[in-house]
Symmetry: C2
Subunit: 262 residues, 2 copies
């Protein structure tokens, strides 16, 4: 239970991380910690002690061989009104879940995605952060309940394609690995960061830029990334079938093989 | 206390109303109810029973002659993941507070305001609603702690002036009463609605349109509205002094006199 005066509830004044537990440990833990503390700095939230937090997370993760560990950090409880006093003590909430069915990439690979009508909220001050202000993702994810559709692509107000409701987007064109730039909206996923860092080892040049609908048609490969699911090849967008490359030329497959080594 | 699985905490998946209790009743109750239920429809939140909610609110309000009644309605608790099941039962939380010092308009009238750096989040799907996604207001209100400054003006990404962190903006130019249009961002305050409805009785023509910084300089009067505070004349914006009209030509004063009759 959480105090009703917690600013996480009152204003969505906080951040979260959704982590994949593998072999009783946390995949990409350092990246999650980095993003969380960066978010605390940007939102001026008094961050939890890093050593304590890390050991708590690892202790919880050890309870399951495979799972999903969700951590919420809020600014804490305060008086009424938007202004933080600066003396709030952050609240942290950790919960361990089973790995959802169908999130093992192989079972749905290649996945179907659709184009969402709900626009992404645009705010450069919050762009990239995984804050508790997630109504755009909630409304976008409410648009469909067909279980065969894995994800929905979201656009900003200028019709750029920015991300999925819960994942980041990558396109390969030749030796370029393109992903939408997240300077105005979208969450900078930890798996997105990992993919960008792997690009050069795969002989690819990573480029962050605006992505248009037309770019999807021109891409040789389309895949999406998520910290829990990993890498998901996209085989169909809005009923248009995409060509899937054989494994040795398939960037998502090659990245998955590397991810298995973590 | 609230369940940590409540989607209000997890995603800011809910709405709130901040109501002024006057003489043991709720000022503009019908407008608050209207906005809340409109928000529930737009977010597809199963709304609370209206008759039950109304009688709960009035029972709570009766506990104080003067006060502030805050109501939060969330989509309720759910499983992990953005998608609502559609079977959630909404959570409602009501809390009664004392009227904050200095919010009696007279004490600060005319008020000083500043221009905030934090941009408003823009999302046409959420524009006008008082959702629990309020990080833009939180960050904007964190920009100053000088108690002499009552409010901060917020701009969208295109530098239009849209609202305050907790209030709506009005300008009078001749017989026109201008207020920013809220089609892309901002909260449509209940006091804003009331002011717009009063305009014709005051011989003014209400116009909702984009407002630029230059418009503030050209205005004959600037005032702001808030459900708790009422109407606040603005006497200084970003260290620039504005001329204050005598009461009989002062729109905020005339509106305050009408508000007293409610």
């Amino acid at each position: 239970m959480v105090a009703y005066r917690d600013r996480g509830l009152q204003y969505g004044d906080g951040l979260f991380e959704t982590m994949r537990v593998r072999r009783r440990s946390i995949r990409l833990l350092e990246y999650h910690v980095d993003r969380l503390y960066d978010g605390c700095r940007r939102l001026m939230i008094q961050a939890p002690n890093e050593r304590v937090l890390r050991s708590e997370l690892l202790r919880i993760a050890a309870q399951r061989a495979e799972g999903v560990l969700k951590l919420i950090v809020t600014r804490g409880s305060g008086a009424r009104g938007y202004r933080p006093s600066g003396r709030e003590r952050c609240t942290r909430i950790a919960a361990l879940y089973a790995v959802p069915r169908g999130s093992a990439a192989a079972t749905l690979d290649p996945a179907r995605v659709r184009l969402c009508k709900t626009p992404l909220g645009m705010n450069a001050a919050l762009a990239g952060l995984k804050t508790l202000n997630r109504l755009d993702s909630v409304l976008a994810r409410s648009e469909w309940d067909d279980a065969r559709i894995w994800e929905g692509l979201m656009r900003d107000a200028d019709q750029n394609i920015v991300c999925g409701t819960m994942s980041n987007l990558f396109l390969r064109q030749g030796s370029s690995l393109l992903t939408p730039v997240l300077d105005r909206c979208g969450v900078a996923g930890v798996m997105r960061r990992w993919v960008l860092e792997q690009a050069s080892a795969l002989g690819l040049r990573a480029v962050q830029r605006r992505i248009r609908w037309e770019d999807l048609g021109e891409a040789e490969e389309v895949f999406m990334s998520n910290a829990v699911v990993g890498l998901m090849s996209i085989g169909e967008i809005q009923n248009k079938t995409l060509r899937i490359r054989p494994p040795e030329h398939n960037t998502a497959s090659r990245l998955r093989a590397r991810l298995e080594l973590l």
